[in-house]
Subunit: 235 residues, 2 copies
Amino acid sequence: MTFDEFQQLVRFSIQDIYRETFAENRESIRVKKEKTAVKNLGLIFDATLHISNNKGFRSMTMRDLSRESGLSMGALYAYFSSKDKLLEMLQHQRRTVTRRILKERINAETDPTAKLRTAIQTHLYLSEVMQPWFYFSYMEAKNLKNSEGQKAIASELYTEKIIEEILKQGKDKGVFEISDQQLTASIIKAMIQDWYLKRWKYAKRNVSVDRYARLVLEFVEAFCLKNHVSEGTLL
Amino acid sequence: MTFDEFQQLVRFSIQDIYRETFAENRESIRVKKEKTAVKNLGLIFDATLHISNNKGFRSMTMRDLSRESGLSMGALYAYFSSKDKLLEMLQHQRRTVTRRILKERINAETDPTAKLRTAIQTHLYLSEVMQPWFYFSYMEAKNLKNSEGQKAIASELYTEKIIEEILKQGKDKGVFEISDQQLTASIIKAMIQDWYLKRWKYAKRNVSVDRYARLVLEFVEAFCLKNHVSEGTLL
DNA sequence: GTCTATATACGGATAGAC
DNA sequence: GTCTATCCGTATATAGAC
């Protein structure tokens, strides 16, 4: 699977996220006309991610957000009740979408090597489409209050657990040779995360997501595959 | 080299950092008695790292810092002229120490495999001793203003460059088999960083830094070493 | 539905006593 | 060298006009 194929296959757009957000928050959002609401949620989210990812969510003032989104302070509060709620909404949407698509794609595969490859690629491709969201989620996770903070931790462990399970299956079937699935899964996750955490670096160097994915897979393959012969088996 | 050996070998303590900070900022620090100043810088840095790493530097108020450090607001400003300057001091010290020790340890080795092993271990061990500092540096990098922001980026690229150079040497000597040193170095760096970025996770699971280092080395070895035979060569 | 204007509080920084 | 008290700008959030 390449990034292009992924996009054709999954066919989801950031627009869908705005629509979904509106649907899930009909009660609290004071604007009732869907078309307006979805459009403005888009402006708000885009502006929030843009400003926050440059100087931090806490440093972004409501005046900043008002200026960049083109909506007045008053109008902004028709979409969320507080700045913290806005943070929660962004975090929630990112989590929901990730889980749904990851699950969907991995379940489409059967054998461990294919599952592992798909998990890694899908996660990378997803983070490519939603890079600002993933970066934001990671960087602002610790700024969340209690219950939301718990969800952020759970989310971090969620994808790791998925990889761990796949490694375990492969080990049981005798395909993988690993001593510690959990730690191995953690490290694989770290490699995946670097893609959206250091996006600026890779962009500057013209490293495409496909090239990055290939190298991660080569790394993982070299480490996990039994009787690994140079390359190709996992790719 | 194990973590214990590293500590014996390097013999540096966080106390040294406080002393160094005082020495480098004699002019701007209004407190002139070394003993008092070093003690209070310790209290200030510890409190800043503790609070910031839990809810972000921007969210930490001077009142928070005053409470946790045990110094009054007025006293705090005898050690730095503004909250931003405090951020800069922390970033600067972390960078300086890292560079000095990394350079020192790597230059002590000659052949590429030993250099690579030492680079990875030293970085991990350093980040173990100074975990709060490394975490802070990473998370607050984007909150820095222009010139300091540039330094943060340069610092990110610095260690990566070190690894890249080692990989290149090894490739030239025919020891490593890698197609893209730069991207490989990036990924190795990502694995190293995960150790201090997800410290809470590894602590909870009782993963020691030695165990983590071993796995990273196994990963790297599996990928880089020519005619890799199961294990042992790089370890 | 969206705007402007403003209430209210909180944060960084300092003055001046001890 | 350190403290308390306070100044003043700025931030979030809302009231009320349009």
